[in-house]
């Protein structure tokens, strides 16, 4: 009956009023929670820009071999600590030639830059062979030179191209922290939910364990765990152990946050309603508590990523995280650990810019997501 009545009233309405009543046109009460979050997220310009920069950086990691002019592992004694190539527009984009000149009197060698006979930059030229996406064999690179070596950011202590190594390094440095946090999120969510929902002695025990782990300073704890890894491990083995080591400390903070959320939801009316309707504990947890806490969990874990990335960099820098055959930003920065090297060849510090950019972007992005997800916290 009522449906019929509604139909009649709408029939009497003018056309544009009816349009306003149609569900897809209404602006009120129709916006989903997700859409609201996206809308709030878009408002923070810094977070959006950071997200875009990070996407570009990850694309760079995927296309690392294409973007690198030189093989990042190629050792070349002739280019030891060589300066960044001098770019010139003299006769099209190119790099200046560098010639070693031996003084006939003192027999000391020095380098002379000659920009008149520049070596042209070749776009999409041929370089070292690689497999794109690990599948398609090719030897095309974004930019190469025919003669000499294109060293945009100079070379390291073994004559390896810092720019190429930086691009390759993002593969390890930008994933190890994220993977570690993902593992930590899973651990933290499960343990936090159990702790917050079951309560009683289980909760007490879990909270005490978290307190104990938290009363060890983070970096020294990470360093100690990383240092007991056997030194002769493979690169991949080390990589996975590092993610686990990172997560073993990070989960504690996440578990606390999740527990807090679960506890506050566990007394909500809808949970009591579900309980009185006879829902099982696992059903309440999985269909009511976890989905409600999900956005909060995502926000909190995103804010844990920068710390994890910095931890990997710091440990590798100290020589107890990733080790040399592996390429990560921390490993690259090991060259910069000696003050005299740093003073003479300041370009070894360039990879630091990548670390700072990446971590700042993750911070800003995480902050934006947190503000979008929990505007009231």
């Amino acid at each position: 009956m009522s449906q019929l009545a509604e139909l009649e009233t709408t029939d009497l309405m003018p056309d544009d009023d009816r349009a306003a009543l149609a569900p897809e046109q209404s602006g009120i009460g129709e916006v989903s929670q997700t859409r609201l979050m996206i809308r709030r997220f878009r408002k923070s310009k810094l977070a959006v820009i950071s997200g875009i920069i990070l996407i570009i950086m990850y694309l760079g990691a995927v296309f690392a071999p294409f973007l690198s002019p030189n093989d990042p592992a190629q050792v070349d004694a002739n280019y030891k600590f060589s300066k960044p190539s001098h770019l010139t527009l003299n006769g099209g984009p190119g790099i200046c030639q560098v010639k070693q000149v031996i003084d006939p009197v003192t027999i000391s060698s020095h380098y002379v830059t000659d920009c008149n006979n520049a070596i042209p930059l070749r776009f999409f030229g041929r370089g070292f062979e690689y497999k794109l996406f690990g599948l398609i064999p090719t030897d095309r690179h974004l930019v190469t030179v025919d003669k000499g070596k294109l060293l945009l950011f100079g070379a390291d202590s073994q004559g390896r191209d810092i720019a190429s190594r930086m691009v390759y390094g993002s593969r390890v440095s930008m994933t190890i922290g994220v993977l570690g946090v993902i593992i930590a999120t899973i651990l933290g969510s499960v343990i936090g939910t159990v702790s917050g929902y079951v309560r009683g002695p289980t909760d007490t025990v879990i909270q005490r364990v978290i307190e104990i782990i938290m009363s060890i300073p983070q970096l020294p704890l990470w360093a100690t765990m990383a240092a007991v890894m056997p030194p002769n491990m493979s690169v991949t083995g080390r990589y996975f152990l590092m993610t686990i080591i990172l997560s073993l400390v990070t989960w504690t903070g996440l578990a606390r946050q999740v527990r807090g959320k679960v506890m506050s939801y566990a007394n909500a009316d809808y949970v009591n309603a579900a309980k009185s309707a006879g829902s099982s504990g696992s059903r309440i947890v999985l269909t009511h508590l976890v989905p409600n806490a999900a956005s909060h969990i995502v926000a909190v874990s995103m804010l844990a990523v920068p710390t994890a990335i910095l931890a990997e960099t710091a440990l590798s820098f100290l020589g107890i995280g990733m080790l040399d055959p592996a390429i990560s930003w921390g490993v690259l920065l090991q060259d910069a650990s000696k003050i005299d090297v740093l003073q003479q060849y300041p370009w070894v510090l360039i990879p630091a810019l990548a670390v700072i950019l990446c971590v700042t972007c993750f911070q800003l992005l995480g902050d934006g997501v947190r503000d979008a997800v929990d505007p009231y916290s």
Partner: protein, 328 residues
């Protein structure tokens, strides 16, 4: 209150015991024993190490004992201040630690004072001038401050100091004061070596605390009693400093533990770059050279530092904030 303090003390002691178990457990996970590395060192020096010698040394150090026995030996030595010999430094660990611990404490707590002294006024400014150009600038600086790893900042500062200011950096003393007796000049020299690492350690926490302060104060400014104060006609300056800031400070005391933890971590890595003889620096050195038992001792000591810091903040919070239940 007394019961509260005693209870907290008991918790702290239990925590330290648990931490020592964890530290020992991690160290025991390492392949080989504490002696493997020492044998390698002796061999590298050209010494013959026979099977009998290995056996004798293993027996002396109790390498093949069950781990609980080893733990007991280690921890009872620790409790008596007898921490054994360091293979790396070839001196008793207790001697090694004394001055280092003092320096670590001085650096960590000094950095906390610096961080608070800067973070509170800047945070207040940022919260009261939200979404203005200076606030945006402060926000960006904060994010970069948090994002620059301490070791990079330390490297940058060192290069700048040497290159543009011609300062001698690294270490605790200039060479001329290295073995000199204590005097005002020597003390002055030490201070001139310490302020830079101290500043570097404090940067990250300052940035983070500024953010915390800004968020707290902003929350408090939205509360009704602040509105009431304004409605009464209390001058804005008084509203902010007397009514709002006071209540925004509690979370700062609460996060004391987190801050201190971050500072202890920072102290470890910055000390390595600046070559300062601190506990954290010794920890990383012993870890790299696989001087494992000493590393476990140092890790436990750093945790004691953090636990004591937390204890102080718990008691301070109960003291300044009557809402904290003392019976907890």
């Amino acid at each position: 209150m007394l019961v509260f303090i005693i209870r907290r003390l008991a918790y702290a002691v239990l925590t330290v015991v648990a931490v020592s178990f964890i530290a020992f457990f991690i160290i025991e996970l390492a392949p080989g024993s504490a002696l493997t590395e020492e044998f390698a060192r002796l061999r590298a020096q050209g010494a013959e190490v026979s099977g009998a010698q290995i056996e004798a040394m293993e027996k002396q150090y109790g390498i093949n004992d069950p781990w609980i026995v080893k733990y007991w030996k280690w921890v009872s030595g620790l409790a008596h201040g007898n921490m054994g010999q360091s293979f790396l430094y070839h001196e008793p660990v207790s001697q090694l630690i004394g001055s280092r611990l003092a320096l670590s404490v001085a650096l960590s707590f000094g950095a906390i004072i610096v961080a608070w002294a800067i973070a509170i006024p800047v945070g207040v400014f940022s919260a009261t001038h939200r979404y203005t150009i200076p606030d945006y600038i402060i926000t960006v600086i904060q994010f970069v401050g948090v994002a620059i790893p301490e070791f990079l900042l330390a490297l940058g500062v060192m290069v700048a100091a040497v290159k543009w200011f011609g300062l001698q950096v690294g270490g605790l003393f200039d060479t001329q004061y290295l073995n000199a007796p204590w005097s005002m000049a020597r003390f002055g020299d030490m201070v001139s070596h310490l302020w830079m690492p101290l500043a570097v350690i404090a940067v990250g926490s300052t940035a983070w605390l500024t953010r915390v302060m800004r968020a707290n104060l902003f929350d408090v400014l939205g509360q009704q009693y602040v509105q009431t104060a304004r409605a009464k006609g209390v001058p804005e300056r008084r509203v902010i400093w007397k009514h709002a800031v006071r209540n925004a400070l509690h979370p700062l005391v609460m996060t004391f533990g987190t801050t201190l933890g971050a500072l202890i971590s920072g102290e470890a890595i910055v000390s390595i770059v600046f070559a300062l003889p601190t506990t954290g620096q010794a920890l990383v050195q012993t870890l790299i050279s696989k001087d494992t038992y000493v590393a476990a001792t140092l890790l436990t000591l750093l945790s004691v530092l953090l636990v004591v810091g937390n204890l102080i903040s718990d008691i301070a919070l109960a003291w300044i904030d009557p809402r904290v239940k003392v019976t907890d």
